[in-house]
Symmetry: D2
Subunit: 223 residues, 4 copies
């Protein structure tokens, strides 16, 4: 039988295809992306990860089972250290100081995406919070695996270090564990909650697309 | 001494000027706004007001003082009835059924704005929540008073009914009470909270501008 | 088929029997309860209702459907006005000023009960919040109907005014509506959520018993 | 100048004296506490720590500064692993399985205390949440240091392993860091928030006393 997460994935495939073949990622893959766009991305992603960590904090608080709490706490911990340290390292090699990363102001699209996630985390169930956070985690794995097949990206030390984070076996295992948990929560949930999980997954998928668009265009506030 | 809310208002004046003179509102004032744009607005605003009411519910839950709780509860009640019934009435006269209003899907800008507000309401103090909700309430009063001076709008029964809601003495009293409360909360707050209140007020002011822009352009999801 | 709420009610019947025949209520029914205990009760209940209203505020914010939001908002409004004004009136006739009611410090049992309810409202689903709030609302109806059969209570103007609030047809209709909504939410919920709803209902039933015990013994903080 | 936390500590000194000289702790110190009471304690504390971790999760989500988020996340992580593993180890040496620890039902006092903490974490500021959590963390340090001076406890491998956790230099450093942060938050806070922080600190101190009382008497639900 098809799992809940696989069904979600199938339904948003048209959106995910546009993510995987977004000019930003195609140019990363060919190592032709202007470095300014990547620098813009790093700052926005750093800001995003701080908010993502807040969502993980709330999810840790909301999950019923102790072992899952422990895994979430460890995930939260490594998100704030390992993943953000990687961005800090890449930033430093591009002469972006850690202070500059911390000060980065989120663009409208970034703010909209992370406040959607934060609000669902506060007001919704763990299943809803996790479904909202899943497209980010999962699509990065697909992106990482895709970029891993490119020869050209290997010539670019920065782009390849960034992308290899998301094709590592640890990362793949993490996404697998996370999807299993989403599947379990969907099984326990009633029809109405499952419908909301699906809706959150779709909206976050749209926001993922819009996020890549935003960094590619280096979006600014209209006012 | 200048009140906190007046200081906030002064700081965002350039944004508010662009709100007050936004083509959407200029055309409403001249009774030249295409009715489709107004219909688009009604649906988006109806959807927005539902989320606004959620914020009022949380504010009622968070406020310390019983009398303020009572006023918030009454405000919540009248927002869900009086204000929304007015939109329902206008909708019906434009052949938009109440069901259609309820089904209206928020645009990206609408979703971003109301999730910002909802998240602050859940995670922040009452002062922060109220500062986030203030630009909507207050700018509508300024808009209402401005439109009230136009002769042309009076020829348009729908636009004038809509605008007169926000220039009524009850509405003006409500905004006055609300600002007084924000001022009190700001006085009680520490420097850090006051700074966050100011930041929320500025962001919501930007979102107000973006909201008018959104309805004027009849924004769609990019994906 | 038996409704969810009726199943809940049956399962806690031993607890509810001890509520209905608690000495405090037996003595109210016989009009023999020392007035000091009733005065103690009024202060504790006033404090409790403020927190109960906070829970209703959050429930209004969390419920999906607009019409239910409207009913919750109206319930919140009347809880803060009608029900509390009744306590204020009774208090005044017993020379307890409104200020004294507002200042009343909750006892440990009161604090425990209302913080349980508040936490479930913030962290749980609407179904969970409503199941937690149901024993208070529903058991008062059974208490009201029971006391209504007593002849002796009618000789006591204060006790009979208090009890008649909860045997009025408006109150009975409200409880009926509320139970119908809990039943619907239970139908939509998954097994895990339904189990939590049942658990909250049981714990709140225990707290109801402990609340009567607390006022009867005029509980104080042990330190 | 006296720090905020030291002022708090002084104000509750009468309560803390009754904690430090509670029969439960005196008997632990003399190694005369019946082991059943300690076993009862371990189960209740295990249940409490799970809820305490939820509060840390929310605090991680609410704190503004990234470095503080990181420290909180690491604290949350080690609370769920190091501290709980210690209890699991002690439990196993007393033939209490981990499953038994996980199933332990909180007593009324335990439930009241942790729901107070959980509710403040959800609804209040970080300063309020931290002030609520401080008496637990800090009083355990004072208890640990006190027990460390006893010769008799050293003869009891279980009681001494338990108490030494809270007199370790790592633990002392942690409490110190935590108090510094509370002091900073109090400095940033306005008068009203500081008053609430003080009130939470006092109530949690009372609950700490009541917690020791509860395990000493092996409290049961009255119904």
């Amino acid at each position: 039988m098809e799992t809940f997460s696989n069904k979600l994935r199938k339904d948003v495939d048209p959106i995910w295809q546009r993510i995987l073949f977004h000019p930003y990622l195609v140019e990363i893959s060919n190592a032709t992306l202007p470095i300014e766009k990547f620098m813009f991305y790093i700052k926005q992603d750093y800001s995003f990860l701080i908010q993502y960590a807040r969502c993980l904090g709330i999810a840790t608080a909301k999950v019923q089972d102790l072992e899952t709490m422990r895994t979430f706490a460890s995930l939260l911990n490594s998100s704030l250290t390992l993943e953000m340290r990687m961005l800090e390292r890449l930033g430093l090699s591009l002469r972006i100081s850690i202070e500059e990363l911390k000060r980065a102001e989120p663009t409208p699209t970034n703010l909209a995406y992370n406040h959607y996630m934060l609000y669902v985390s506060y007001s919704g169930t763990v299943g809803e919070a996790m479904a909202t956070m899943l497209p980010c985690m999962w699509s990065y794995q697909e992106i990482g695996e895709r970029l891993d097949k490119s020869e050209k990206i290997k010539e670019h030390p920065i782009y390849s270090e960034w992308s290899s984070t998301y094709s590592s076996s640890e990362y793949i295992d993490l996404v697998k564990w996370y999807k299993t948990l989403v599947n379990e929560l969907a099984t326990q949930a009633g029809q109405a909650e499952r419908k909301r999980m699906k809706s959150h997954f779709t909206i976050s998928s749209k926001y993922e697309y819009m996020f890549w668009n935003m960094v590619y265009k280096q979006e600014q506030w209209p006012i």
